[in-house]
Subunit: 335 residues, 3 copies
């Protein structure tokens, strides 16, 4: 049902403190905790003894002890202590999951552990690069995660769902879509358009060129890379290099179950990074806009549940989403 | 599971204003809206693009635009506009349902549209006849709609469920039941009985004759027609025609799902029609009584859910309900 | 799924007053009421007419009348009156269940009525013996009742779940388990240990011997019999018989459905029986401790629901629970 051999965002780094954290990922119960040295660990959240959730237990050094009978598991998932027993049974263990903490996220690998390569974790460096400002959070959504992926790969909804917030009619501009490997990339270039207010505020000229690159990184990430380049004004000095500003939206949508997901988003930028008011503006605008998406997508899920095989019609604007679903299905078939 | 070729009440007229209304009818999502000229339209509440519910969209002239990507559908269900596309895909459409606004209700036909004949809509003229007063509302009930139909065709429960409100022991009087075509009719005549208080209040003599005609109009309507005729008092002038008053209870119970329904009721009368206090009395008494029914019937549904095939015993008082179920099953079998 | 030929606790005596009480037992709806002479009766909580729950009806003498149409059933389950009918249909009846009121509980037999022998009801006399003090209540738990049975037969969880309340590490002491007939018995003797505070308060010497006898009485009862015997102090008179105090914990866990249960507990003791503060202490400590169990066990059930066949590992401390499950499965297989 899900692509297993893939890196998913399991949590934001700051969600995991001293207490264990339990979360369903791809329908499986996973417990996260920090070992003695602060390293994050992911284990099956089901004690091999009585199937109590380990997240109700306590961290003890590098291990986590079940809250029911005190069975202790080390970061490899091996049971290393059973209170009252001299000898731990040989088969006493829980599954452990490869977990990497990077770019302020915990990245989990739910598939074959021998296939896990941390170098394949998407480059989300803008999420902790000091030359960038960031703001983001986690949003629980009661819908199939691919409905949210589709939503992000499709700018044509902006003028409708977000009519009252960030809306503008984007349907007119052409997008080139390209799929190769485990990516689907869409590029839209807008030449000589009105400069957005937040760029104007930084002293940009009234007109600009803008490029949006939307990238689906299978199985669960959508980045939106927005580059705005100032056009020389009437009074511009010919010898000046045109200035550019970047916004990088990082979106990771991790399946919780077949019909619910964890939506992690971060809005990052490389301009006015110390200006808290801009950070707040991006945060609040995104919270509002994504909540509008959530409401629509949860309603969509309820309609789908009524008749999961009702036929649909695709149009040009769906190309990114169609390619993303095709890619996901191919990866699932590969096992 | 349901009779499809039948007129169901989908909504009260005044439930549908300028905003679209979404409602499940026979388990199908239906959106209702008013076209530019005020005419009510019923379409499949599932955009053919991404299956978003159209009731979250906006009315534009005679059309409704999906709130997700702006696909617009006309009253026939044809998609007439896709933002950003020159040409609408030929197969882009949603189902449309025959809908008639009459007698202050919206009547929907969920079956074969070519078989829909508005002249077969039940005669509920007392619901908007100026010579009659009306009061009523919609009550959601978490039970199979046929449990409510049975309840209405059976007066023997009145002395038990409604012991504290309208209760009187009706079990003594005989009812003649007759089934023909798409109707089941029960008649009970009571000769020389005490005149009910609301008739006494209008100056009726202390004794009267009363006839109750209960009619099940398949698949979902039960009317109860109560005629009260004054008996000549001791001092009555032999030359005077006996006075009569009528109460017509209009009940329409529309399946929402297999175990939930929309119960529309209206209490109409042809006497003291300008007397608001009588209208209020009938309204409040009915709200209280039907809520007593609702509580019992929802409890009944929960017991049925525990063991749907537990055997039951029928008695004489069930005759109307038994005939109604038989009729419904015959109509379902006819397809 | 359940052992049927067994006595289950259905309710505490004082839960059943003048009004009928409806409760699911082993997934079946049962109504309890008191006949005219106060005797408790248990019938199928589903009228044979329209399947309304009888617990919404009224007691009339020795009978219960359905709240929908007034069908009356006597304590044998026979329908003895149908309002409006001269003759009650011969097959009009509901199931009746053997029910015995004893030791302040209502004991129900859900299996073959001819096999019900009241003399096989467990001896819970300490629950109403005037030489004992009692306190207890009913706790609804959203989990398979056997998870609670396992919990009670296993003292090794005390130091973990109850670390903050009654916790002490009991994992060190050996328990002898023995299974015979319809019982599983575990005995643990502790020689020359610190006397518990509540025994000290009664004047006991600082050291004592203690015996705990845990008994699983199939299919649903676990008693814990704690005997504390004073050891002679340094200044003890050699001619004095050592004093003993007893605590008897009566636990009955009745399945409501496959994944919910009614947990009845009573803490009884034969010392300081008039001391309300001790009664209150035992009550409050037990309420707190069992709520800690409930939280863990409900979490355990949710994890089990995610993957009911996930493998588990057993250790020595599980011996009582393993024998109890084996016994229950054997009794189910015997039918």
């Amino acid at each position: 049902m899900f692509v297993r051999n893939s890196w998913y965002v399991a949590a934001q780094s700051d969600e995991l403190g001293a207490a264990p954290l339990g979360r369903l990922i791809l329908g499986e119960p996973v417990v996260f905790y920090r070992a003695g040295d602060g390293r994050a660990v992911a284990l099956e959240d089901r004690c091999c003894h009585k199937r109590a959730p380990l997240h109700r237990g306590r961290v003890r050094g590098d291990c986590i002890a079940c809250g029911y009978h005190g069975f202790e598991f080390d970061p490899s998932g091996a049971c290393v202590r059973v209170p009252g027993l001299e000898q731990v049974p040989a088969n006493a263990r829980v599954r452990s999951y490869p977990l990497v903490e990077r770019h302020r996220y915990l990245w989990i690998w739910m598939g074959d552990p021998t296939a896990a390569r941390p170098e394949e974790i998407p480059d989300f460096h803008t999420n902790d690069d000091p030359r960038w400002a960031q703001t983001g959070t986690r949003l629980p959504v009661a819908a199939d995660y691919l409905l949210m992926v589709e939503n992000l790969l499709d700018l044509s909804h902006v003028g409708f769902i977000h009519a009252g917030t960030i809306g503008s009619d984007d349907t007119g501009a052409a997008i080139r879509w390209d799929s190769s490997g485990a990516q689907v990339v869409g590029v839209r270039s807008s030449i000589d358009i009105d400069t957005p207010p937040h760029n104007r505020k930084q002293g940009f000229a009234p007109r600009c060129d803008q490029t949006k690159v939307m990238t689906f990184l299978a199985a669960s990430h959508v980045t939106i890379d927005i580059t705005t380049v100032e056009r020389p004004g009437a009074a511009a000095d010919a010898g000046t290099q045109p200035r550019a500003m970047h916004i990088m939206l990082l979106n990771s949508i991790t399946p919780e179950t077949a019909t619910t997901c964890h939506y992690f988003w971060s809005s990052t930028r490389d301009f006015a990074i110390a200006d808290e008011s801009i950070t707040r503006f991006f945060h609040e605008m995104t919270v509002r806009a994504f909540d509008e998406d959530r409401v629509m997508i949860e309603a969509q899920q309820r309609i789908i549940d009524l008749d999961p095989v009702a036929p649909t019609v695709s149009v040009a604007g769906d190309l990114g989403g169609v390619q993303a679903r095709r890619l996901v299905n191919r990866l699932i078939a590969q096992g």
